[in-house]
Symmetry: C2
Subunit: 144 residues, 2 copies
């Protein structure tokens, strides 16, 4: 990545750039990782599906506006690369600087798409990885 | 799908079979939709990442053992099909038979993989969408 308009030569490089931008709270760097396409989709934990560059950018701006400084430790679970699509499934272990205990981990599915000039992010779907759930028939966790 | 070992000729057909098996609570039909591969991954809402046929099957058996009868209304958001991978992002509107009000919707990312004999499910990642959405009644793909 050596200019504003370059994409990445591998999906793994795009993923690294994604989490670097996330840690840095750098909105411009974050949006460079995303494909500038109407069909990109970003689902933050317990959030709705944001579609297209305007909604996706607004979502990240809101997250970064908290000013929290985050440290990510990534635990890759699966990679699937076939032709022009790549899917990464991973645990995101997140620590907020200044806090002594890590936050509960997140599970993320990231889908990268290759177009003419390389790989960019097409989908980010993150959700809490709550391993210990107490049974409660009223909670949606029981449905599914 | 006309024998135990056939896969689907399109990822959309595999997705339809997935939700039909889910509604029916049919574990055998459910596991036919999944690729019988060590790298399949299933993430239920607020659950952990289940990997491989044994864990994935055990997860569905647990869900189906509740005996709840579910009705799905699917609201497709995105499809991305490139070569041998296909990604579907959708809202799952779920109603439990016997309840008067629908449960909060889920967001799901489903990844299908094509191998020699056709398409099967490789990843299901579902999480609560929390934010109430009002689907256009003309848009959702009703399974009934």
């Amino acid at each position: 990545m050596d200019s504003n308009n370059s994409a990445w030569s591998t999906p793994q490089q795009a993923e690294q750039a994604f989490y670097q931008a996330f840690e840095a709270g750098d909105l411009a760097a974050m949006m460079q990782v995303w494909d500038a396409a109407a069909d990109i989709c970003c689902i933050h934990p317990m959030g709705k599906a944001l579609t297209g560059p305007a909604q996706v950018s607004e979502g990240w701006a809101g997250i970064f506006s908290s000013g929290q400084s985050l440290e990510f430790t990534l635990e890759p679970l699966h990679w699937q690369v076939q032709g022009d699509l790549a899917v990464s499934v991973l645990h995101e272990h997140i620590r907020v600087r200044g806090e002594t205990r890590p936050r509960p981990p997140m599970l993320a599915t990231n889908v990268y798409r290759r177009r003419g000039d390389g790989w960019r992010l097409w989908l980010h779907h993150a959700s809490p990885a709550v391993v210990e759930v107490s049974p409660d028939p009223a909670m949606p966790a029981h449905l599914h």
